[in-house]
């Protein structure tokens, strides 16, 4: 798995593709690609899901969580996914 950054964290509120706010640090604006901190809490994403398999080098793999399987991608947020399994 590639190195984690702030976009992988539940405390991160994305403003745009490059930066966001950290709710664990008083909503301070931080760069998306910065290193994570001890308060890191994984955001539900396909790459953290047990149903995500056969991942290729571009981060595209298979989602086996739904009745009909299909491809998905590692960084898709799964906050609202009914079949996300940590």
């Amino acid at each position: 798995m590639t190195k984690l950054n702030h976009t992988d964290c539940r405390n991160y509120i994305p403003i745009d593709v490059a930066k966001g706010m950290c709710h664990a640090h008083g909503d301070k604006i931080i760069l998306a690609d910065g290193d994570t901190c001890p308060q890191f809490e994984a955001l539900p994403k396909c790459k953290f899901c047990k149903n995500f398999t056969d991942v290729d080098d571009k981060g595209i793999g298979c989602c086996e969580g739904f009745k009909v399987k299909d491809w998905t991608y590692a960084d898709l947020k799964a906050v609202t996914c009914e079949h996300f399994v940590k």
């Binding site: 745009d16 930066k19 595209i60 991608y73």
Partner: protein, 904 residues
């Protein structure tokens, strides 16, 4: 050093004076009215100023996945299920400090691609994108801190961000996803399927050349298939979503298996009601996901005030997911979510809130009376609403977003006008909406006043105060003229005078059909207006009038592309009448090929990609059980023909008439030779400036064309109440407005004239050679349709108005007039009254639209040199207000050059 036109003219004693009515002071003059938003909204707006336009594939992915899964199902159901799946799975993001929540994508200024509409422009860029993604990884993420010029536009890739179309940023890890999604829509998108069938039109070959030569700016069927229309918030506001779902169930039971005499579309009603129900369920889940996220944030927030705000958001979203809103805040939040929800459904610009100050008045009135809210609290919410609306981005190709939209989305909020029973409709909430437009200056919603003699002075002067803040809004629209147009265009579909009084503006200044609906709140009844017509962003968009004239002069040949665009006419053009006759003949060929091919694109759209959510919101889809594609809307004759460059075309015809045909000072061949050689000048692209005054002579120029060029520049120009020019405009307008009605939309309705330029006068000017009015190759056309060319209106604003009103504006959906005025000219209460008098005089004369830039041109020049100091500078372009830094240079140059009035 190459000589500039401005210096050459000075030598000849014919300075290009871009000021009228005096001389502006040497120092920079700031705007008179300056106010600030509340600290909350200032912070939220400041975040916007730092935000990059960002795109993600999340909505696209979930839509695509379900659409594939539903293969073989009825198309309406398939599309609705896909939309539902996307809404249900959209990640809710709430930004601390917001009172109004919700957005188009999980970013502050987010958007997403719609490959089912058009995937071509991603595919063409696939290799480039992927290579950029690879290369960009080597760059430092610190580059982001220097990103600023260009506002939020991601003009180049950096760090883990890849630029798409010079506008949107996408995370590097999503690039393979974008291209994979795009590949799955090859030969299936509206663009591809439409293209397959448009080629069956006999005149397709001409159409392709018309597009390549940029006589026409873009296809409307798959780029922006909806928009420039007025949304309707009535049904959710009056009934709540639970009741709407019940109504869909009742509709299904009523129509299932029963065509009720309609053998073509009667059976489709079942599918529409089922599709509507599915989308409504998706919308409810989407709202509830925000409620859940607000609760989660409340649970991890220590600050009691912020925690309480998250809890209030959760309560609001949970309630409006099911029921009619109880308070002004809930109602405003609901209208915002409806608005964003519709924008999720399609690539749309110009989805206008309409007369939202009248729609929300019932809640405002009752909350104020009950002491549930203060005006200061309402103002705070309205400012938040402005920031939210400004965050709307539209994802489309560069040609559309940059060349037409200047990155704007034209969410036009209309005020004033008349009530259903013919009284002034202006109200106290609209006064606060204007105040929010002053205190929280943002691009959206842009504001429009439906000017009517019945509007109170206090309201009009409040609007003038807003003008003096330099916001570029509100625009002034002629209420009576607009109603006349609506009655003519939609009378055959049953529009009544009462309906016409519900008029509002969709997009920049597109007169749109609306209706009244009766709303009940706490047993009190109100009539509220809302949109009831199809989009007006559809039809033939935009035709470059000067380019058509160029085709006449070149026998249909385009030197820039080397194409024989139109069939050679082989006429000698010996008389002015023959010249004008050929102009009209060529114009009709252009409109005809664009109308037929765009009809096919739109037909594919309505069959494959019809809107469900927007349909169910507008009268009378829910009652009829039919979506937009089956003529569910009350009014459907909305397709139009849009023109660009009217002023340069008229000025060119005037120059030809005087110099070649009447006085015979030059032969046609001499004029053509001068035009072909750009009067001895370089092209605008070579010079790097797109305004006339900055153009430079070619190094090898011998001065051969100096005299003819000077004569062309000296020839009579539009905007001076001139007896040679005004009849040319009148003749053209009467022909144009009549001609458009000869063409039929796919819905079997007559088209009509639409005369706005948006930003196309930049791109279409760039692709047009020198014109007989003395304009040089590649320079931007005059803005709008009634504005004068920069520096050529030498008899003052009232002469300009006389010229502009020599024809009946109610024959057209709109006409457009922009004026630039130095702040000193309208200073103080006396200046405010003069500005109102000026506005009134144009409206009373029959002008349709008037808009002001109250700005010192020197400020604009300074902003070009130092954009980093002007992130918040607003200017009026042509129908919309935009941040200066987000406008392309051709349009910036044109705005700088516009005649600056030093007195009114």
């Amino acid at each position: 050093m190459a000589k500039k036109l401005v210096d050459i003219l000075e030598e000849k004693g014919m300075s290009l004076n871009l000021q009228y009515g005096g001389t502006a002071p040497a120092e920079l003059t700031d705007r008179e009215i300056k106010k600030e938003p509340t600290p909350r909204n200032k912070k939220l707006r400041d975040i916007y100023f730092q935000t990059l336009s960002s795109t993600t594939c999340e909505f696209t992915y979930w839509y695509n996945r379900k659409f594939k899964e539903m293969d073989g199902d009825v198309i309406e159901i398939r599309r609705a299920a896909a939309l539902k799946n996307a809404f249900v799975h959209s990640t809710p993001v709430i930004f601390p400090g917001e009172k109004l929540v919700g957005g188009k994508a999980p970013y502050y200024r987010g958007s997403f691609p719609y490959p089912w509409l058009s995937e071509g422009f991603f595919m063409a860029k696939e290799d480039e994108l992927y290579q950029a993604a690879l290369a960009a990884g080597k760059a430092s993420a610190d580059e982001v801190s220097t990103f600023g010029a260009g506002g939020g536009n991601v003009t180049k890739s950096f760090g883990n961000v890849v630029s798409i179309s010079g506008k949107y940023g996408i995370r590097k890890e999503e690039v393979p996803v974008l291209t994979k999604l795009a590949r799955e829509w090859v030969n299936k998108s509206v663009d591809d399927v439409g293209h397959k069938y448009e080629q069956l039109v006999p005149e397709y070959g001409i159409k392709e050349n018309v597009m390549r030569s940029v006589i026409c700016m873009f296809d409307s069927g798959y780029t922006l298939p909806q928009g420039r229309e007025v949304i309707n918030y009535y049904y959710p506001l009056n009934y709540g979503y639970d009741r709407l779902i019940e109504m869909c169930e009742e509709g299904k039971a009523r129509v299932a298996g029963r065509p009720d005499g309609d053998g073509v579309a009667g059976m489709d009603r079942l599918y529409f009601y089922e599709a509507a129900k599915l989308v409504l369920e998706g919308i409810q889940a989407w709202y509830l996901n925000y409620a859940k996220e607000a609760k989660r944030l409340a649970s991890v927030t220590a600050d009691p005030a912020q925690k309480a705000e998250f809890e209030e958001i959760a309560d609001c979203m949970e309630w409006i997911a099911h029921k009619q809103p109880r308070t002004f805040r809930e109602a405003l939040q609901m209208t915002w979510m409806i608005h964003v929800g519709v924008l999720q459904e399609d690539s749309i610009s110009g989805m206008s809130p309409g007369r939202v100050g009248q729609v929300l008045y019932p809640w405002f009135e009752q909350d104020i009376e009950a002491g549930r809210i203060t005006e200061a609290e309402v103002l705070d919410l309205l400012e938040s609403h402005r920031v939210k609306m400004t965050c709307i981005d539209c994802f489309a190709s560069m040609g559309v977003v940059a060349g037409v939209l200047s990155s704007n989305t034209f969410n036009n909020l209309t005020m004033g006008g008349l009530t259903r029973d013919g009284q002034s409709a202006a109200n106290r909430l609209e006064m606060l909406i204007i105040e929010a437009g002053i205190t929280c200056q943002t691009t959206n919603p842009t504001l429009s006043i439906m000017y009517d003699e019945k509007l109170p002075e206090e309201f009009l002067l409040k609007a003038i105060e807003c003008e003096k803040a330099g916001t570029g809004y509100p625009a002034w629209m002629n209420n009576r003229g607009g109603m006349e147009f609506l009655m003519k265009q939609y009378g055959p579909e049953g529009m009544t005078l009462e309906d016409a009084r519900a008029i509002a503006i969709g997009g920049c200044l597109e007169t749109s059909p609306c209706v009244w609906k009766e709303l009940t709140l706490n047993d009190k009844k109100y009539w509220i207006p809302g949109g009831a017509g199809q989009p007006t962003s559809v039809g033939v968009h935009f035709i470059s009038n000067p380019k058509v004239l160029e085709m006449v002069l070149t026998n249909g040949y385009d030197a820039r592309t080397g194409l024989q665009v139109l069939p050679p006419h082989n006429k000698k053009l010996e008389t002015y009448e023959e010249l004008v006759g050929q102009f009209k003949a060529y114009y009709e060929i252009v409109v005809d090929c664009l109308a037929t091919t765009n009809n096919i694109q739109h037909d594919i759209w309505r069959k494959h990609n019809m809107c469900i959510y927007n349909s169910l919101l507008k009268p009378d889809c829910l009652e009829r059980g039919q979506h937009i594609g089956n003529l569910g809307y009350r009014f459907n004759a909305t397709f139009n023909v849009e023109s660009c460059g009217t002023c340069n075309q008229i000025n060119s015809l005037a120059a030809m008439k005087k110099l070649v045909y009447d006085e015979k000072k030059y032969t046609l061949a001499e004029m053509l030779d001068a035009l072909k050689n750009n009067f001895g000048f370089k092209t605008a692209a070579q010079v790097g400036s797109f305004s006339l005054e900055a153009q430079e002579k070619r190094d090898d120029d011998t001065g051969k064309y100096d005299e003819i060029h000077a004569d062309c520049l000296r020839a009579p120009k539009h905007g001076n109440n001139d007896p040679l020019v005004d009849p040319i405009l009148k003749d053209y307008e009467e022909w144009f407005c009549d001609m458009c009605r000869k063409y039929e939309s796919l819905y079997g309705k007559p088209m009509y004239a639409c005369q706005i330029s948006v930003s196309t006068h930049g791109a279409q000017g760039a692709s047009t050679g020198a014109t007989p009015d003395g304009r040089l190759a590649g320079t931007t056309f005059a803005d709008a349709s009634m504005s004068a060319y920069p520096g050529t209106d030498r008899n003052g604003a009232y002469a300009l108005f006389e010229s502009a009103c020599c024809w009946d504006h109610s024959q057209s959906q709109n006409s457009q007039m922009n004026l630039k005025i130095h702040p000193n000219a309208v200073r103080g209460i006396e200046g405010a009254k003069k500005l109102l008098d000026l506005t009134r005089s144009y409206m009373r004369r029959g002008g349709y639209h008037l808009q002001f830039n109250i700005v010192d041109s020197k400020v604009l020049k300074d902003a070009q040199q130092h954009p980093e100091n002007y992130r918040d500078l607003l200017v009026r372009v042509a129908g919309f207000t935009q941040y200066w830094v987000e406008i392309g240079k051709p349009i910036q140059d044109e705005i700088v050059a516009r005649t600056e009035y030093e007195g009114v």
